[in-house]
Amino acid sequence: MANQDQQQPLVEIRNLSFSHGSRKIFDGVDIDIHAGGVTAIMGPSGTGKTTLLRLIGGQLRPQTGTILVDGEDVTRIRRGRLYQLRKRMGMLFQNGALLTDMSVFDNVAYPLREHTRLPESMVRDLVLMKLEAVGLRGARDLLPSQLSGGMARRVALARAIALDPMMILYDEPFTGQDPISMGVLVRLIRLLNDSIGLTSIVVSHDIAETAAIADYIYLLSGGKVVAQGTSAELERSDSAWAQQFLQGLADGPVPFHYPARDYAEDLLTPSSVAAAARG
C-alpha cells in the first residue's frame, strides 16, 4: 500500500510488553494496522501471535504499552466500552468455536439475537445472506458436530460478520485445512475484506497463503518485530531471520538444536559418572 504512512491506522500498538508468568512474550512491539487492508502477523509457533489477537480484543491486558483500536485504548478502557467496541470486531478462532448446542443457523443468528431487537423474519434474511456469502446457506440446519473443520470455520466467519464489524481478527485460519478448503478460505478472507470494507488481521504461519492475500506483513520472533513490509519487500529483505522463515530453512538464526552442552562430551560421559558428578 502506497499510502501506508498517510492515514491514521485503525489499530495502533505502541511499545507493547506482555509476560505470561516469567516468560516474556512481547517486548516493546510497535504495530500499525491500516483500515481497509489485510495485515498479516507471522512468526513461528509459540511467538504469541494468538496472544496478540487476544490483547487487541481486550481479553488480556499487557504489562506496558498502549493498543489503540479506532482511537480507544483497549488496555485501559472500561468494561462497558470494551463490550461496545467488541460488537464492531469479529474474531475467527482457530477451530471455529461454534456453540455446539445450536444449529449453524442459530450460531450465525446468535450475535444478532443478543445485540439487536430485529424481528425474526429479518434475522432470518440476514443469516441467510451471511451464510450465502460463505457458501453454506444449504447447511443451515446442521449441527456443528456434523461440519468438517473448514466448514466450521466458514460458519464462524459468517457469524463474525453477522453484525457487520469494522474489523476481523483471524487466528490461524489455514491450519490443518485440505488444499480446497484452504483455497476457499484464502479467497473468502480477501473477498470479504474488499467487498464489505473490512479491515483484516490474519495471524498465521502459512507463508504462501498469507503472502498471497496480505497487503502488509509483520514478522514476529522472540517478542519483537524482526521484519515488516509487503511480501515483495520481505522477499528482498536482508534480514537473515526473515529469509530463514520465508524459505523454511531448518537452521539459521532460529537454531535447529535446542540448547544443549557439547555433543561429543555428552556422549562420552557415562550416565553413572554423570550422576556421581552431580551427586
Binding site: G57, Q59, Y83, G90, F93, Q94, A97, T100, P111, E114
Partner: protein
C-alpha cells in the same frame, strides 16, 4: 523447611481459589437481573438440571424411604411404638435425608454435568468466542445455571421426601402391618410446618446455592484441557459432598440445637 513452604503454598492456593470463587459468585448474583427479560434461559436449565434429575431422585427416595420403614419398624417394635413409624420416617426425611441425599445425588448427576459442560465450553473457546461477541459468559452461561440449581434443589428435595414417605408407607403399612391411620395421623400431628419442613427447605436452598456455585466455578476455572476438565468434574463431586455434609452439621446445630 521444604514441607513448611509446600504447606504455605497450598494454603495460599486454597485462599486464592476461594477468592476467585467469591468474585465469580458476586458477578453471577450481580448478573441475575439480566435474566428477568429472558426467562427461557432459566427454564431450559431448570429442565436440564432439575427435570432430568427426577428419575434418580425418585428412585433413590423410594428406596431410602423403604429402608427407613424397615429399620424404623425393627427398632420401634421393641418398645411397642411401631405406630410412630410415620413420624420417624417423615422427620428423618424432611429434616435430614431429603435435603442431604438430594444434594449429594444432585452433585453426582447435575453438578458434574454442569462442570463438564462449562469446562468443555472453555476448552473449545466457546466462552472466549462469546466474550469476543460482546456477550458476557458469566451472565449468559453461568447465571442461568446457578439460578436453576438454586430453584431446583428444594423442589427435588421435596419430591425426594414425599416419595420416601410413600416408600416407608409401602413397607410399614403394606408389608409389616403398621396401622394405616396411625402412620398418617401421627405424622400429621408431630411434623411441624416451620420447625421441620421449613428448616428442611432452608437447608436445601443453602445446599442448592453451594452445590451449583461449586459446579459452575469448577467448570469456569478448569484448566482448558481434557485432563483439566476431568479433574474439575471430580473436584465438583468431592467438594460438594464435603461442603454439604459440613454445612448440614452447622445448619442442624443452628436449627435444632437446644442450647
Amino acid at each position: 523447611m521444604d514441607w513448611l513452604q509446600a504447606l504455605g503454598r497450598r494454603g495460599l492456593g486454597v485462599f486464592e481459589r476461594l477468592g476467585r470463587a467469591s468474585v465469580l459468585l458476586f458477578n453471577i448474583i450481580g448478573g441475575l437481573h439480566t435474566l428477568v427479560p429472558r426467562p427461557a434461559l432459566v427454564t431450559y436449565q431448570v429442565f436440564s438440571v432439575g427435570v432430568l434429575s427426577l428419575v434418580i431422585i425418585v428412585v433413590s427416595g423410594l428406596f431410602v424411604g423403604m429402608v427407613l420403614g424397615l429399620q424404623g419398624y425393627n427398632t420401634l417394635v421393641d418398645f411397642g411404638a411401631e405406630e410412630s413409624l410415620g413420624v420417624v420416617v417423615a422427620l428423618s426425611l424432611v429434616r435430614e435425608l431429603g435435603p442431604v441425599v438430594t444434594a449429594l445425588l444432585f452433585a453426582g448427576r447435575a453438578g458434574s454435568a454442569l462442570t463438564a459442560e462449562i469446562g468443555l465450553m472453555k476448552a473449545t473457546e466457546q466462552l472466549s468466542a462469546m466474550e469476543m461477541m460482546a456477550v458476557d459468559p458469566v451472565r449468559r452461561v453461568l447465571a442461568p445455571r446457578f439460578l436453576a440449581g438454586f430453584v431446583s434443589m428444594p423442589l427435588l428435595a421435596a419430591i425426594f421426601s414425599a416419595v420416601g414417605v410413600t416408600g416407608g408407607y409401602f413397607v410399614g403399612v403394606g408389608l409389616l402391618g403398621v396401622d394405616e391411620g396411625a402412620y398418617w395421623s401421627q405424622m400429621q400431628d408431630r411434623v411441624d410446618l416451620y420447625d421441620d419442613i421449613m428448616n428442611g427447605v432452608v437447608k436445601s436452598l443453602v445446599f442448592g446455592a453451594v452445590a451449583t456455585w461449586i459446579a459452575v466455578f469448577e467448570g469456569y476455572d478448569a484448566v482448558p484441557t481434557s485432563e483439566g476438565v476431568s479433574r474439575a468434574t471430580t473436584r465438583t463431586v468431592v467438594q460438594t459432598a464435603l461442603a454439604v455434609l459440613a454445612l448440614d452439621f452447622i445448619l442442624t446445630a443452628l436449627m435444632f440445637g437446644e442450647y
